[in-house]
Symmetry: C2
Subunit: 299 residues, 2 copies
């Protein structure tokens, strides 16, 4: 069951994501054989930010692997909020499109809230539309879409801790994309959840006492040995470049902390691949809902 | 500044609510003198549940006191979800109506989610529409409406602890009406927030270490001395009847805990009056927004 390296305590996201994708691929094939239909994920990209282009390419690659078609919609970086809303509206009305995501971050002149609200709640596979945010925080998980990163984090944790009921979780970081939706999801899993952030006093007293610590700050190697104890399962969602700008690193000083804790996810290769996998799981869910299909297996 | 009894550590909600209502009343008078308009709060009640009728009457009384008109819309307990939605739609379209609330709980045959979603987000002064829930959890407090109980709790705490930044708060109870919206509001105030609930292991270890403990379980006198320490500020949101069914009591065993802690709010007379006061503050906000008025004082 455990998804660790043979000899270590490292929680490999790539291996776990591969299994999620293989299972999804299998389901998609069965559905296609039964209905002749498959999902289409529309990815809206504004401008040509190199990092965003890499993320989009990775999503398209993973989609192709499992059998989800993708449609990339490119707008110039000078596009207005109105133009972007119109592009989204077209996708909202297109019955062939199952899911829509807008690659973040958006240029500063774009009204981000308006864009995220413009995506039809039924196609909002990133789960950032306020209606889906409301459903999630109300505990109505089946009604809307939960963002891929929190879903991926929970799946990764469950590889080594299948029963989360009553577990104490400390989340470091309160973003709308990771920290807050993750807190809602873990509450639904019956965890006792603490959200820490830049204004928290004595952060180490929280993290070291938790069963599970999830860091999502974006501060390279901010957390060293003093924040952790042997009982901790550590999930690192931070993605930054190190001081030299050469290497991708997480919020946790991996080399220092890895020998010390129960389990730890690496950066890269930890949460990142899981996020994409669950974006595709959400796209499949949207597709099945829209087509009122039920997954049935006749083996 | 402190709102405590002369000789005790009791956080009196009635006195605090009175001040909020007096201030609101003053603003409403100025606005009325300037514009000739005042808010109208519509209260929808299904059936004749005695407790609900008392709550509605208290809200109407408080509204009258500050100069907010109320309209009580009564439906038979046999009314269907569809009939209720139609009644709400009529109020949504009525330009004289500033705010709409539906008195909870609803009869079991009513689709509560559909009802709460039916209230126009601009008139949803209870803040239960999923869109407003999403805005709150995204930290967009100005955009929507925050439910009255969390607003009242924060105001009550600020009477004795004006600066909440970095304070550790433990919320016991994860309801959509109190625990979860309160967690979002306190995060926006820069608190470190922990949500505990029925599945939490060793609850006392969380509560006794917190600066502020808010209990919202509805378990009469569940928490005695062992849950608290002298540093705690305790806010009791529970409202239950004691074993004999005679007395209204909170989640905290007041007599046992009051001598022990820094501050404590009583039941009744603590959070209850604050909830109604902030429902009316929200109604004023909705009215001002709709009429695009700005509160100006020319004294």
């Amino acid at each position: 069951m455990a998804i660790t390296d043979n000899k270590t305590n490292v929680l490999e996201g790539r291996a776990c994501a591969d299994r999620v994708l293989d299972e999804l691929s299998r389901k998609l094939k069965i559905t296609y054989d039964q209905s002749g239909e498959k999902p289409l994920l529309a990815i809206v990209l504004i401008g040509e930010d190199p990092a965003s282009m890499i993320y989009v390419r990775n999503k398209m690659k993973a989609a192709a692997r499992v059998g989800i078609d993708t449609l990339r919609v490119n707008l110039a970086s000078s596009a207005s909020t109105q133009e972007l809303v119109e592009a989204i509206d077209k996708l909202n009305c297109d019955n062939k499109v199952s899911g829509i995501i807008v690659q973040l971050p958006l240029p500063g002149h774009i009204d981000k809230d308006m864009i995220l609200s413009a995506i039809s709640t039924n196609k909002d596979v990133d789960g950032f539309n306020p209606v889906n945010v409301g459903y999630l925080h109300n505990g109505d998980l089946a009604k809307g879409f939960v963002p891929g990163t929190p879903l991926g984090i929970v799946e990764l944790i469950k590889q080594v801790e299948p029963n989360l009921r009553g577990k104490s979780v400390v989340i470091v970081g309160r973003s709308n994309i990771v920290g807050k939706p993750l807190s809602a999801l873990l509450l639904s899993e019956d965890c006792t959840v603490t959200i820490c952030h830049s204004k928290t006093i004595d952060l180490a007293s929280y993290t070291s006492n938790a069963d599970i610590v999830v860091t999502a700050m974006g501060k390279p190697k901010f957390m060293g040995a003093k924040f952790f104890k042997p009982k901790n399962i550590v999930i690192d969602v931070g993605i930054s470049r190190d001081e030299a700008g050469m290497k991708i690193v997480g919020d946790v000083d991996f080399d220092e902390v890895q020998p010390l804790v129960k389990y730890i996810s690496p950066v890269p290769g930890g949460v990142g691949p899981m996020t994409i996998a669950f974006l595709l799981v959400n796209t499949f869910k949207a597709f099945m809902k829209f087509n009122q299909l039920t997954h049935t297996e006749n083996e």
